[in-house]
Symmetry: C2
Subunit: 318 residues, 2 copies
């Protein structure tokens, strides 16, 4: 794992592949129904993820919308969450209201279950008021497929949904027959805990996936966004020893200093981040670079990628 391994034949194999593809293009161009332009379209050579990223242009990246970005401040550092109002608009609204009321300040991470989730909320016996925020919300577990909803499918088959891919930059799934789309429970996704009825979530208790994707939660609970920076702070909090990873003593809680909407933070104190767009040729090349690893260390390319193994790259804004 430490040092990359050189696959000696890789350059020769790649050269051979390019020759084959060139000949195939000529051969295809001679067939009826295939335009020469289409058949002769340049076939880009396989690239590593580093090569794909190095070749991106500014249009391949998007900034975070300050109104759709939350800063979760912990004593250990700042966690940046991008909200997904296209999938959970009512939860996003409630979360902005709660943050602006400083509802979360002084609350705590109350649960950390290994290979599953961390969760935060109000640990007190006498819960504080939600103020202007709604106490219950319609479930928002799925959205109706509408013409305006972008969806960039990946060709890789998935066990949990008929089709998976990306929507508004988030990992997502859709079922055209049912006319529904939903966000997928990949690592770093943020959801709104709910209690004993589908509409009992309100955003006051949030969880973040810290383990192998618990996709069985898809369509059962509202995902509201994704951690785009600071996952390592949430993933390393000590696991709780109680049932489902809840802490059993108040001294184990990880305190929350504050939660703020980025738009309310002075510009100079905001995180200058940009996220790779998922609706570009560069992103499709990135997915391919991970589906079939071209890094010299790999001997056998997988020929497949699980939705939750596709990295949605975040970097300092250029």
């Amino acid at each position: 794992m430490t040092r990359p391994v050189l696959l000696d034949d890789a350059p020769r194999l790649r050269a051979l592949l390019r020759v084959i593809l060139r000949h195939a293009a000529v051969w295809l161009a001679a067939l009826p129904g295939v335009s020469p332009a289409q058949a002769a379209a340049p076939v880009p050579p396989p690239r590593t993820m580093a090569e794909v990223l190095a070749a991106t242009v500014p249009a391949d990246w998007r900034p975070l919308e300050p109104e759709d970005t939350l800063y979760l401040q912990l004593p250990q550092g700042r966690v940046v969450i991008e909200l997904a109002p296209a999938f959970a608009p009512l939860h996003a609204t409630n979360l902005r209201i709660l943050a602006r009321q400083k509802y979360f300040d002084g609350l705590a991470i109350v649960r950390s279950q290994d290979n599953f989730v961390v969760q935060w909320g109000d640990p007190s016996e006498t819960p504080r008021s939600l103020g202007q925020a709604r106490a219950t919300l319609p479930s928002e577990f799925t959205v109706r497929l509408a013409p305006g909803l972008p969806f960039e499918p990946i060709p890789d088959r998935d066990g949990y949904a008929p089709e998976v891919g990306f929507s508004h930059g988030f990992p997502a799934a859709r079922d055209v027959a049912r006319g529904e789309a939903w966000l997928a429970h990949c690592y770093a996704m943020v959801g709104a805990g709910r209690g004993n009825s589908p509409d009992s979530g309100n955003g006051a208790e949030l969880y973040v996936v810290t383990g192998h994707a618990p996709r069985q939660l898809d369509r059962n609970i509202a995902l509201v966004g994704r951690v785009v920076r600071g996952m390592e702070l949430l993933a390393t909090v000590p696991r709780g020893s109680g049932p489902m990873g809840f802490y059993e003593q108040a001294g184990q809680y990880v305190p929350i200093t504050s939660v703020r909407v980025a738009a309310d933070v002075p510009a100079g104190e905001r995180e200058a981040l940009e996220v790779m767009r998922t609706d570009t040729a560069s992103f499709r090349a990135l997915v391919e670079s991970r589906r079939n690893r071209r890094d010299d260390w790999y001997l056998v390319p997988a020929g497949y990628i699980d939705l939750c193994n596709v990295p949605i790259v975040v970097r300092p804004r250029s």
Copy 2:
């Protein structure tokens, strides 16, 4: 997420399902070619994982073989690793030799990459001798399919392999056409780092999966076992800030107190654990309980399970 939600109609739906299945049995019994005994075989009602576990018998469990068990002692506690000699016999032998030479004592966790792996080995500039252990080993990335190799497939399709399931209690995959089987990179699996050639691994540098299953590593590196207790200790070590999660300063290393073969530890100091067998009807029922969650909180059962979401339960020996 916090409290289970009651799906009010679940008991009625289950009762209805039982009625349908009873009638179907009678109807099937009337068809030619279906024996009444077969058709009328009792259809067990769907069960939760808790119900499945409560109904297990001693034969559903197996002890850990002391010769195939390593104790990784950290200042934070003990991590228990079950070796997989059926898949990596040479690595298992080398690891026993290294442990018996106290090779690992005083070494350190040198890498923690978020959502990927932790890795330990010798951080020093002048590496210590491997003694009687071999410096390189044949790759052991896959094994030949042999009649003696147990394999219990799950019916759920997988993107990385033609077939997945369990072998000797480990998550595994096989390709009958190629005549190969291999262990799968699920959470908690332990592998032997390798360098710039396939046979450069020797077990002196081990890694453990701490994130979403990096199945693209399957068949590219030797998996040697699985952490069966103490994953929370490895999963929470601080992430390294260097490339690939390596620590950049010696002060960040997590020291390893010792690694011992359980057989060499006095009986009274061993972990009294047992692992659920994967070749039983109880285990198949457990998989089904996770494929379609019957817990009242769930509204939509997934109808599918990813190999790496199947829990291989470990408990104190009864």
